[in-house]
């Protein structure tokens, strides 16, 4: 019997750490330490290369919270959440429920095709859509003109009203396939019996969707929310390749402000302060979503 207890996996706790070590080292060196360094830098006035590094305490934060450019950028980020997160999740739910309940021919093809935007580099996505939106030779306006909707053939990315929704909708295009695949996977765990019982009780498709599918996908929706909201808050590449924050400041986002402060205006401290605030916002939102997810699993238990 003594032999058996010796082989018990719980015994040698140290061993596990050795397997973790390589990944942990990389994480420490390239993620954790830079985060600490970023937070530290945010208390300094520093150009990023000279010896002249001055401690200014919360100075950068005070300036940040009274900076109308930061308010505007943050507001745009929140609007991006609608396009990056809310709309893709709704579309994803709709498509997934369409595809999962009744098998259609070519299902695997559609699944892959709709997921494709997710694996393309955002820079490429930006360049392609900038061309799609081009008012002179872009396909979107050509199509609008062909079907007689000339009034809608505007210069999308340069329009003060439409630039933000236009860039946002690119985000929708990128994210909804990911949401759909996630929900499709989740739906496989929902037992058919629920649906059968519900339809015997007279629940229509919509009611089944609201009362069976959505609660059953609670964890998947939480995962989708966290990843897409983070993507919306840290968006940079898409804005950089399409509008550079213009026209005016209508598509300016916090990620772009950080880039500008750090790399064109030599204000590492200020850039670090924006980055720190943004990280905190993301952290708080993620914790909230996690709580929602956990509450759900307690309820269903």
């Amino acid at each position: 019997m003594a032999n058996v207890t010796k082989k018990y996996p719980g015994e040698s706790r140290w061993k596990g750490w050795w397997y973790l070590l390589p990944a942990l080292l990389v994480y420490l060196l390239f993620t954790f330490l830079p985060i600490l360094e970023t937070i530290r830098s945010s208390f300094y006035q520093w150009d990023g290369f000279s010896q002249n590094k001055v401690w200014i305490g919360l100075g950068n934060y005070v300036e940040l919270f009274s900076d109308p450019k930061f308010h505007n950028a943050l507001r745009n980020n929140l609007i991006f959440v609608i396009f990056y997160s809310i709309i893709p999740i709704l579309i994803g739910l709709f498509l997934a429920s369409m595809l999962s309940r009744r098998p259609i021919p070519g299902f695997a093809f559609f699944r892959t095709a709709l997921f494709l935007p997710q694996v393309i580099s955002m820079v490429v996505v930006g360049v392609i859509w900038r061309w799609m939106f081009n008012p002179t030779f872009g396909p979107i306006n050509s199509l609008l003109r062909q079907i007689g909707l000339d009034v809608f053939a505007i210069s999308w990315l340069g329009d003060f009203t439409w630039a933000l929704p236009a860039v946002g909708s690119i985000g929708t295009w990128v994210q909804y396939g990911f949401c759909m695949v996630l929900f499709l996977a989740g739906m496989q765990h929902i037992q058919d019996e629920y649906y059968e019982a519900a339809s015997l009780d007279g629940a229509n498709t919509f009611k089944q969707f609201i009362h069976i599918t959505v609660p059953g996908l609670r964890s998947e929706i939480a995962v989708a929310l966290v990843t897409t909201i983070i993507a919306a808050l840290r968006v940079f590449d898409l804005v950089y390749t399409t509008t550079k924050g213009g026209p005016g400041e209508t598509t300016m986002v916090t990620g772009f402000l950080i880039y500008r402060a750090a790399f064109t205006n030599n204000r590492i401290g200020y850039a670090a302060a924006i980055a720190t605030v943004l990280t905190l916002i993301i952290l708080v939102i993620s914790l909230f979503i996690r709580r929602y997810q956990q509450q759900g699993s307690e309820e269903s238990a």
Partner: protein
């Protein structure tokens, strides 16, 4: 956010790795003759496009041939990459001996302030650079020793190439319609109306990328203001204001052009390169941009193009936006300063001028007397324009150098102006707010 920091630390780590790798010169090249050790000059430049790169390669090879025992280790980067990495690299003991450093306060100014660049005044005398470039050109690469005042003080760089902003026009379209190159601004505006009436886009232009809108505005502005004003504004001296009748008038003219439909249809949604490609393909009679576009317009097209300066008002003279390209500078802590200075001198030699001209780029230096270069083409037009404004002392400035945030402010405010969100008066007031705040911060 996090991504940025990671990027920063990775590039830092890479830089450390790279400089560690760079240290030992390859053993095969080393010490061909006993007792003479090979000297390696580390140079960072941003001439990455094919034809530019060839010019540098040729000059480097000729420099090595003329200096036995010297090897040039070249690192080429695109401008954005160079700008973000060169500052840290210049703080290091084994950083580049020679590097191209962008002009203006955020780059050269910040580096001078940090004490990282070598003042070149003694070499200016030693090599007689005063005969190679004018004082107006030298001031663009000059700062006071504290890095605060732009345009005076020490010389910190020498520029091999030159740029002038003017009007490219489609010669075929002009010929077909019987249009002539206008010689006054009044004629130019009349021509715009005529071209528009003929159903052709007068000026191919797109403001999606923002920066070229500064050139459209400022090219007009340069016809209305004096050289003193544009110098004061750019160098931040003598307390001038941006909110002036001349600047407002320039903004009004630009807005009138937009409202009259003189720019490409849907121009707010068109990028700089796209607008140039449309122009190159024969859409649009003219485009207002810098001479750097000339090499591109001379190849892969069946159209023929010419270049002229935006003409001044009847009976007046005008300035033109122009300047010299990104200069070569020397790291203050380099141990090979003499050799580095010799390299700088090499980069602005008559031979360099000839090579740049052959590549279709304007050299900042005069061409050799006996040059047999073809100048009856688009390149010749740009060279002519550059010589004209140089001789007339009418070389203006890129006004976005004026404050560290001027570029961003100008781009945003010009887009608002052209988008009908603000008026010319709003525009000059908003830009002046940025300018005044900067002057204020400088005097504190």
């Amino acid at each position: 956010m996090k991504k940025r920091t990671i990027f920063l630390s990775i590039s830092l780590a890479l830089m450390i790795l790279l400089s560690a790798c760079a240290k030992p010169a390859s053993p095969t090249d080393q010490a061909p003759v006993a007792g003479t050790e090979e000297e390696v000059l580390l140079v960072w430049d941003q001439f990455y496009r094919d034809e530019e790169s060839k010019v540098i390669e040729t000059l480097n090879a000729e420099f090595e041939a003329a200096h036995p025992g010297v090897r040039i280790q070249r690192e080429v980067k695109v401008l954005d990459d160079l700008r973000t990495t060169v500052k840290l690299a210049l703080t290091k003991a084994d950083g580049p001996d020679v590097a191209q450093v962008n002009q203006g306060r955020n780059d050269m100014g910040a580096l001078v302030e940090a004490g990282l660049l070598l003042p070149l005044n003694s070499y200016l005398d030693q090599y007689n650079w005063g005969t190679v470039f004018s004082t107006s050109v030298a001031s663009r690469n000059s700062f006071t020793e504290d890095g605060k005042t732009f345009g005076t003080g020490n010389l910190y760089g020498v520029s091999p190439t030159a740029e002038v902003v003017g009007v490219f026009y489609n010669k075929d379209t002009f010929k077909k319609n019987g249009w002539d190159v206008p010689t006054t601004f009044e004629d130019f505006e009349a021509l715009l109306a005529e071209i528009k009436a003929a159903g052709i886009t007068p000026i191919s232009f797109g403001s999606l990328d923002g920066w070229n809108a500064i050139h459209e505005f400022s090219a007009i502005q340069h016809l209305l203001v004096s050289l003193d004003y544009i110098n004061n504004l750019t160098y931040g001296v003598n307390n001038v204001s941006f909110d002036t009748p001349e600047n407002r008038q320039a903004a009004q003219i630009l807005l009138d052009w937009a409202n009259a439909g003189y720019f490409s249809d849907g121009f707010p949604g068109i990028g700089y390169d796209d607008s140039n490609n449309l122009f190159k393909a024969g859409n649009g009679a003219m485009t207002i941009t810098g001479s750097w576009l000339a090499p591109e317009l001379m190849v892969d097209t069946d159209q023929e193009f010419g270049f002229f300066l935006l003409p001044p008002y009847e009976g007046q003279t005008g300035l033109a936006i122009g300047g010299v390209g990104i200069p070569f500078a020397i790291r203050k802590t380099s141990e090979k300063q003499e050799l580095a200075a010799e390299y700088l001198n090499w980069m602005i030699s008559p031979r360099a001028a000839e090579l740049w001209a052959e590549a279709g780029m304007l050299p900042a230096m005069a061409l050799p007397e006996d040059s047999k270069l073809e100048t009856k083409n688009l390149f010749g037009d740009t060279l002519n324009a550059w010589n004209t404004i140089n001789q007339a002392n009418a070389v203006g400035h890129y006004i976005d150098w004026a404050t560290p945030t001027f570029y961003d402010t100008l781009v945003a405010e010009l887009q608002k102006l052209l988008g009908g969100i603000s008026t010319p008066a709003n525009f000059t007031e908003a830009v002046e707010a940025d300018y005044a705040a900067y002057l204020q911060s400088q005097s504190e």
